[in-house]
């Protein structure tokens, strides 16, 4: 495999390891705590609204999600939720942070193949400690020559990474499951992006389909297809 890219950055959550299912399982258990007070749809909608409202100050990650669950529970029960249920919600958050890291199919093998050819960067947003801990537990840490945990992935973030690594946009490839975070801002910065959709997408990450009009990026079904795609790309250009 030869590639024109001098740095390939990979997203982590739902690109290398499963993350959405953990949130979904927790949300299901959160709904169980509240079922006496509200129906499933209302709980889901209110939690979504609370998360959205809190994003500016609390940011992404499990701690922020936990605080949003607590606020939603207080609001939906009009302040009548017993403190023991709030403790259960905090425990849900703590369990998420301790949950085992489950790699996506083919992740380790693919990362190993790529790392032999080109420097890899893990580029993820979220909670610093929690992402570092997941990387450590994933066993993939040794394959990455750089780790960047950022608070948001916008065009400016990608431009900074290019500048800091002395790279031309054409030398950088981003790979991830989110159109909004891993594809659109990368293309805007003039670099290349490969989209590998996860089977479900987090509601905060759903991109406006119109924003994709006329954009040039590649969509692969699995991380396993990436090495072959890289070889082919080089051969064509």
């Amino acid at each position: 495999m030869k590639t024109k890219f001098k740095l390939i950055a990979l997203d982590a959550d739902d690109t290398l390891w499963h993350n959405i299912p953990l949130f979904n399982t927790t949300e299901a258990r959160f709904r169980e705590i509240l079922t006496a007070s509200q129906d499933t749809d209302t709980i889901e909608q209110r939690l979504y609204q609370t998360e959205k409202r809190n994003l500016e100050h609390f940011g992404y990650g499990v701690k922020s999600f936990t605080l949003s669950m607590i606020e939603t529970a207080i609001e939906l029960t009009e302040g009548h939720i017993p403190a023991t249920h709030i403790q259960e919600i905090i425990d849900l958050g703590r369990e998420m942070l301790k949950a085992p890291v489950e790699l996506l199919d083919g992740a380790e093998e693919t990362i190993r193949i790529l790392a032999e050819q080109v420097p890899l960067m893990l580029l993820t947003k979220g909670d610093l400690l929690s992402q570092e801990s997941k990387l450590a537990r994933s066993g993939l840490g040794g394959y990455f020559s750089a780790i960047e945990i950022v608070s948001k992935k916008d065009t400016d973030t990608y431009r900074k990474i290019l500048r800091r690594n002395d790279l031309q946009p054409s030398q950088f490839l981003m790979v991830g499951n989110s159109i909004q975070s891993d594809v659109l801002p990368v293309l805007e910065a003039g670099a290349a992006a490969v989209h590998i959709p996860y089977h479900t997408t987090w509601v905060h990450e759903q991109a406006d389909m119109e924003a994709l009009q006329g954009k040039d990026f590649t969509c692969l079904e699995s991380l396993r297809e990436l090495p072959a795609w890289l070889t082919q790309t080089e051969w064509i250009r």
Copy 2:
């Protein structure tokens, strides 16, 4: 001012801007919420224990502190705290994240003088989003050529920073208010450290005085003294 250092890294909380007073004010308001249930000392001790226990999974920062306040309140009231009080605690956390950034005396002037002579790095631990937001609001962002927000400041963290910046230990100086985070691990990595104590020290950061035996570092009273110290150091060596 001439200096042998090729990079000077500065801690942020309680080195460039006030942080402990914000935690102290919040803790006072937290104690007020709980005064019906417990005396001040008990509340303080239990909160400290909860924070310590949660550090491994929740890490540093305001969100972690907020979750610890909630857990402490539930424990101290044996589950009888009303949810409205828990909402007040969450609001305390949100207010902390929105609080204005107050620079220490002389911080801006000193940073400006230093930045004209040598590349500066902001090197802080804590919550990614909250530290970035504080830096943006501090007005100091433009003086730093690099920002590193890390989950912990141990010797390994400093070694990585040296390696990533192609620096010999003797070319690096760390400046901060914490013996435990900004001095001891830096000396262990073979680099230099300047300690500028804040008038109070966070209880989690209090260093064992024995660990300081035979260590070679400088203690200054104020950031204002740093440029003169740098000039003098260069002159002596």
